[in-house]
Symmetry: C3
């Protein structure tokens, strides 16, 4: 199947920009220097797509070869570099943008995997990785345990559902602009709803060990 | 040379299952949420093979594309999710299973490298990585220094010897079912012997610096 | 364009040796065992090139397949293993050697990216990664926040300038032995000058958040 989905490059750049802001903010909080701020912006904004591209064999990854993406990540990091104290107050707004980036990256990443001829399973894995991988790299590079693994928010689970839905649509030859956009909106709504109503992912069953 | 080694897919799945249990257990101990438990199970059970496949160009790696492997890792993580307090007591038994997984993964990983036409050196590196890489990813993702690098147990060294022996057999055209199984058994025996007799790998020469 | 640059394999091996020493020294300080010391030597000496090769599709990477490189990294780690107390005093000298390795790795890495047909942007990214990536892997594997991201030394910035200059020379068809060696020398001089005069990279703008 050929996809006729307009991947909305503008929206994707917004996602990269927001991701880069989250990375640069983590770097500023850790008192990283200007190179560290750029690297964390790049890793958070583009790292998920880089992991995806390496795993499906799409090398060099767009996250290192496409100057528009890199320039957007640098722009996001630069905004944080100069305006971070003021942006702390816009946190709510940034969380909503980030929910949009999560939804878009996950669905776009799943489709890219499918277009490269991976199995449905691999497409779901790389889709989720596109959505959450940048944040994982940001956390590892700044010396933190990846927050997506333990924060108990509904963050990765909407991505997992969205990637699975996208793969099933593709498998059933039902992936069209309308259905795919519907999945993006559903993931976004689920994530924003989780923020609004503080929905939680469960922790380990029956308490902890030792 | 064509290999006629029956790779014993059942044994490999047992290895993935045991590896996933170790990852999920680390996640439970750190109070990760359900997504973190799944990711650590996947990384610990399949991460070594994923690193190997990326390095030899076998993309997408089986650790993301083969649903049987993924389902096995999810099953291992699920068992830990529900039964972790009880499984603490089976630690000895799990260590022996893990020794089997180490031996099998190392030898199978070395052979896969050789089959992809790598140099003998590269095959040894990816063989060891298949054996110990999952544990390294598990530790990095849970915020720990990789235990295999500092615990002073004989864990990686049996793998290094086994990968080297496998590569030499291949180079000498002596890799057959019998010789390769003998290497797997030797690595397993060395690891179990090290557990039983508490054999140690040496630390730095003449104390520490500073 | 075909490059006629003599890549000075001897110098490259010196760079691997020095990088491996820095990795092994980090491992000794953390009281890693003999396997950990070898792995950190290998990661620090060859990790940058391995990241580059995976990203440009040059698999298997020379850092796992070329026995000369591996043997050199093992030799660097072995020297540290036996002589680390004495080598603490040679720190100044090792820093200068490391500046040479940074300059050479960055320029060689950028050219390798260009030879593989990447975009100029990608070549700059993989060039910088070849220069500083080994140190990042060394720090992540030893449980440290990558020092290059926060130490505020001029370390990565000379590499970034050198990779950019190399890519521009290539783009303008002006990459020759003379111009490329001039870039290597400029990066080396900038790094040594930064060491000598304690030049600093800036931290975050207007203090920190919270």
């Amino acid at each position: 199947m050929e996809t006729d989905i307009p991947l909305e490059p503008v929206l994707e750049l917004v996602g990269v920009f927001v991701g880069a802001m989250s990375g640069a903010l983590a770097a500023v909080r850790k008192q990283f220097d200007v190179f560290g701020i750029l690297v964390l912006g790049w890793a958070a904004g583009l790292g998920g797509g880089i992991l995806r591209d390496v795993l499906i064999g799409a090398v060099p990854p767009v996250g290192i070869s496409n100057w528009r993406f890199i320039a957007t990540a640098v722009a996001g990091a630069t905004v944080i570099y100069f305006f971070h104290p003021r942006l702390e107050r816009a946190r709510r707004f940034i969380e909503v943008l980030d929910a949009g980036a999560l939804a878009l990256f996950t669905v776009v990443g799943t489709i890219k995997g499918l277009e490269y001829g991976t199995t449905l399973t691999a497409a779901v894995v790389v889709g989720v990785m596109t959505g959450v991988g940048g944040g994982v790299l940001r956390d590892l590079l700044s010396g933190e345990v990846p927050v997506v693994l333990h924060h108990r928010q509904l963050y990765a689970i909407p991505a997992l559902l969205g990637a699975t839905a996208t793969a099933i649509l593709w498998w059933q030859d039902a992936a069209s602009t309308v259905t795919v956009v519907a999945v993006v909106i559903a993931v976004f709504a689920l994530r924003v709803g989780a923020l609004r109503f503080k929905l939680k992912a469960p922790g380990p069953w029956r308490g902890t060990v030792r």
